[in-house]
């Protein structure tokens, strides 16, 4: 899941769409393995902008959208990708619960044409639950490149359900799919899935149990066989889920328990027991899948692509793997820093010009000075500063980052870094959630659902805000440009600022590892649990889509959020700066109060005030600092970032202040949205408070440390 209106911010908090039903039409579920293009199909059909990306697990909750075809309305439900409905992680539980109990009119199983065999496993599992299945063979273009040819008609015959071939990126190829969905919903096509036949001894037990269940419970008719199979397998998690969703209790009925015991004993005699049951079932399915694939597919090369292998050898090599990763990251920052400067200064002068005119206009209207000051110097100025400082870096950073994401590089980062995370007793998948945190920490926290072990998931959640989100990036970049690069202009200057930003990011990653380790050794004790991660094939990113998506879905959305928070915050700050007791403004009183403590951290009271006021959204920290310094009405023209620098220097900023501000930006309490998301994901205030305290304490301690070291150097 990425950053869209529905996936970031407070919308994360009310996304419980588990049992969706279309009242006026049909409900269509979109299921499939991770990373087979479900979200792309979803977007093409509904015209919505569910974020897509080339890595498993980016959709972590159900998303819905609707479309019309002929006279009928269809509600499409995009389910998180899952390898199997016998799930193991949270986002897969969501998928399983919807597939099994959501009761959609038709379930479209999207499969990857390049590895059909494995994908058929899920198809067979879903066909055990419902008859109304359509198989959508996606990524035919990639299959063609790998010289894989699939006989779709034969596949349809062998499965007994309709099969559509699609290239999700080409919208026209979806027409057939829509038509088939329509026909299945209207019962013009009736799928008759050819279910797997297991070993005779298992089939017998299923039949006996099915008959018993029919006399005892009133389930949807298609579920008896599946529930019998699951009861025989006795997987607690799934049985619990069945009991919960169908509101029954199997343990209440002694006759059923006796029968189950007998059957299990019989199975045991035939060497089918709890430990190998799943293995036997899956083997039967995979044998059938292999048989089908051998008939319908013609391969030239079956294995993992030769081109990908060459790229992977370099990107994950012992010598180059990690340097290349840093180079990519640094490159992105560098382009952002260099590219953002110019548009930033244009925006500054533009808004400055309007501001002057606004003041003139207000004077013309004989508007009271306090009102015009409050609105123009308070609200308007804060707003425009945010736009000037944030818009250019974001508009450059996001498309670049999305590019890496679409390419399929993120799982490689996780693969490269896994060794370090393992040493800290956590999961390499944490790296993926951290990369999501670069966009938005709240999205990163939700993304932690991809981590199976609850302990490791909690660690990933608690440490997510150690990576600076986009709300903090522009701030970091601005400070780095002004203070670290300083008067060094041009190429060298930009390289120096890049290094500074990169250093802060690495510090964040380093702190994440340390804190994860400490948590694993103290309150969240445990060994690293094992995990399995798919490295998807590289895909050529679609430049046009990346631009549109990252500008509209991410940049403008994040900016919009910042503006919504900034306007009232600007007002509040202005009031704090201009209302006071005995001629001393409230802001000064608070800042002076905090000053001694702030000095210990190498900051000043105003900066701390700004961070505290910035809790609703980190984006507004810098504007608040500037407001504080300029608060008492003195009007300064801000032409560009360096003008900001002058103001800061005039207010006593040194290189130490700059460094500490950068450190504290990276390491401090998360914003309200992230905190609320953490509360929702963990369900406990305890963890929420901890996620507030941990980074703050780290930040304060580190700032104090640098101040201490700096003072020693200055003294001697």
């Amino acid at each position: 899941m990425g950053l869209t209106k529905s996936s970031t911010g407070t919308n994360l908090l009310n996304s419980n769409v588990q049992y969706l039903k279309n009242e006026n039409g049909f409900t269509v579920a979109l299921a499939g393995n991770p990373n087979v293009g479900k979200s792309t199909i979803f977007n093409s059909l509904t015209g919505l902008h569910q974020h897509t990306g080339n890595w498993p697990g980016k959709t972590v909750s159900n998303a819905t959208g609707s479309f019309d075809y002929l006279d009928t309305n269809f509600l499409l439900v995009d389910i998180p990708g899952t390898y199997s409905i016998l799930s193991s992680s949270q986002e897969e539980d969501i998928a399983r619960d919807y597939i099994c109990f959501g009761n959609p009119d038709v379930t479209v199983v999207v499969v990857d044409a390049t590895c059909l065999e494995r994908n058929l496993n899920l198809v067979f599992q879903i066909m055990e639950i419902t008859d109304n299945v359509i198989v959508c063979v996606n990524l035919l273009d990639e299959a063609k490149k790998k010289h894989i040819d699939i006989d779709l008609d034969l596949l349809s015959n062998m499965l007994g359900v309709p099969v559509c071939g699609t290239i999700a990126r080409k919208k026209s190829t979806l027409d057939n799919l829509i038509d088939v969905i329509y026909k299945v919903c209207k019962k013009e096509i009736i799928p008759t899935p050819k279910k797997i036949t297991y070993l005779p001894i298992i089939e017998n037990s299923i039949n006996l149990l099915e008959d018993k269940l029919k006399t005892l419970f009133n389930f949807p008719s298609n579920l008896y066989r599946w529930i019998s199979l699951k009861l025989l397998e006795n997987d607690k998690k799934i049985v619990d889920s069945i009991e919960k969703n169908l509101d029954v209790n199997f343990t209440n009925d002694n006759k059923l328990l006796n029968l189950l015991d007998n059957l299990n004993n019989n199975l045991d005699d035939s060497r089918v027991n709890k430990t190998n049951f799943r293995n036997i079932i899956t083997s039967s399915i995979m044998k059938q899948a292999e048989k089908i694939c051998n008939k319908v597919c013609t391969f030239e090369n079956k294995g993992y692509s030769v081109r990908d292998k060459k790229i992977d050898k370099i990107l994950t090599s012992k010598t180059f793997g990690i340097p290349i990763m840093l180079l990519f990251l640094g490159g992105i920052f560098w382009i952002t820093i260099v590219g953002a400067n110019y548009p930033s200064s244009i925006l500054f002068s533009f808004f400055g010009y309007i501001q002057e005119n606004l003041i003139d206009f207000a004077n013309l209207l004989n508007c009271p000075t306090w009102l015009s000051n409050m609105l123009i110097l308070g609200v308007y100025r804060t707003l425009t500063w945010i736009i000037s400082v944030m818009l250019p870096p974001m508009a450059i950073f996001f498309p670049l980052f999305t590019f890496l994401e679409d390419l399929g590089y993120l799982p490689r980062i996780a693969f490269n870094m896994d060794g370090f995370f393992k040493k800290c007793c956590c999961s390499g998948k944490q790296m993926i959630t951290m990369c999501m945190g670069f966009g938005c920490n709240a999205a990163g926290v939700t993304g932690c659902r991809i981590i199976n072990s609850p302990r490791e998931k909690l660690i990933a959640i608690l440490t997510n805000c150690f990576v600076p989100c986009n709300g903090r990036f522009p701030f970091l970049i601005t400070i780095a440009t002004i203070f670290i690069a300083g008067n060094i202009q041009g190429f060298t200057g930009s390289i120096i600022s890049t290094m500074a930003v990169l250093f802060v990011i690495l510090l964040g990653i380093f702190m994440t590892l340390i804190i994860s380790k400490i948590l694993s050794k103290t309150i969240l004790k445990g060994m690293p649990s094992s995990f399995v991660l798919e490295l998807p094939p590289y895909r050529k990113p679609q430049f046009g889509k990346i631009l549109v998506r990252s500008i509209f879905d991410r940049t403008l959305f994040v900016l919009g959020r910042a503006i919504c928070v900034a306007a009232p915050a600007g007002l509040v700050i202005w009031i704090f700066a201009n209302v006071g007791i005995n001629g001393d403004s409230l802001l000064n009183i608070i800042a002076n109060f905090l000053n001694p403590f702030a000095n210990l951290m190498g900051l000043d009271g105003y900066i701390l005030v700004a961070f505290i006021f910035g809790i609703p959204a980190n984006e507004i920290v810098l504007p608040i600092i500037l407001m504080c310094y300029l608060g008492n009405g003195s009007l300064v023209d801000l032409d560009d970032t360096f003008a900001i620098g002058n103001i800061l220097v005039q207010n006593g900023w040194t290189i130490l202040t700059a460094i500490n501000v950068m450190i504290f930006t990276c390491l401090h309490f998360p914003c309200t949205t992230t905190l609320l998301t953490i509360k929702k994901e963990t369900g406990k205030w305890k963890w929420t408070i901890l996620s507030f305290v941990i980074p703050t304490v780290c930040g304060i301690a580190l700032c104090m440390f640098t101040t201490f070291v700096y003072n020693i150097f200055v003294t001697f």
Partner: protein, 78 residues
């Protein structure tokens, strides 16, 4: 009897065929979900620069498995 060796000892680009999987339940299930049943072909492809994890070609897709798990998977060569 075919000679068994653990998956982690299989050389890069060498073909192995699954004999049995003795990992803990969670991983075992996940590997089954990925179609890793008896006799499935598996080929080591990549090693992480931070070590401790390798990526394998399983049925045409690339799957990363940590060493402590691949140590518990037995394969045979044909």
């Amino acid at each position: 009897m075919r000679e068994l060796l653990c998956l982690n000892d299989l050389k890069f680009n060498e073909y192995g065929y699954i004999y049995d999987i003795n990992c803990d339940d969670g991983v075992k299930k996940r590997l089954l979900d990925l179609g890793l049943v008896k006799d499935t072909c598996i080929i080591p492809i990549l090693k992480s620069p931070s070590s401790g994890i390798k990526a394998f070609d399983i049925r045409g897709s690339l799957i990363a498995i940590r060493d402590e798990d691949s140590n518990l998977i037995n394969v045979y060569k044909k």
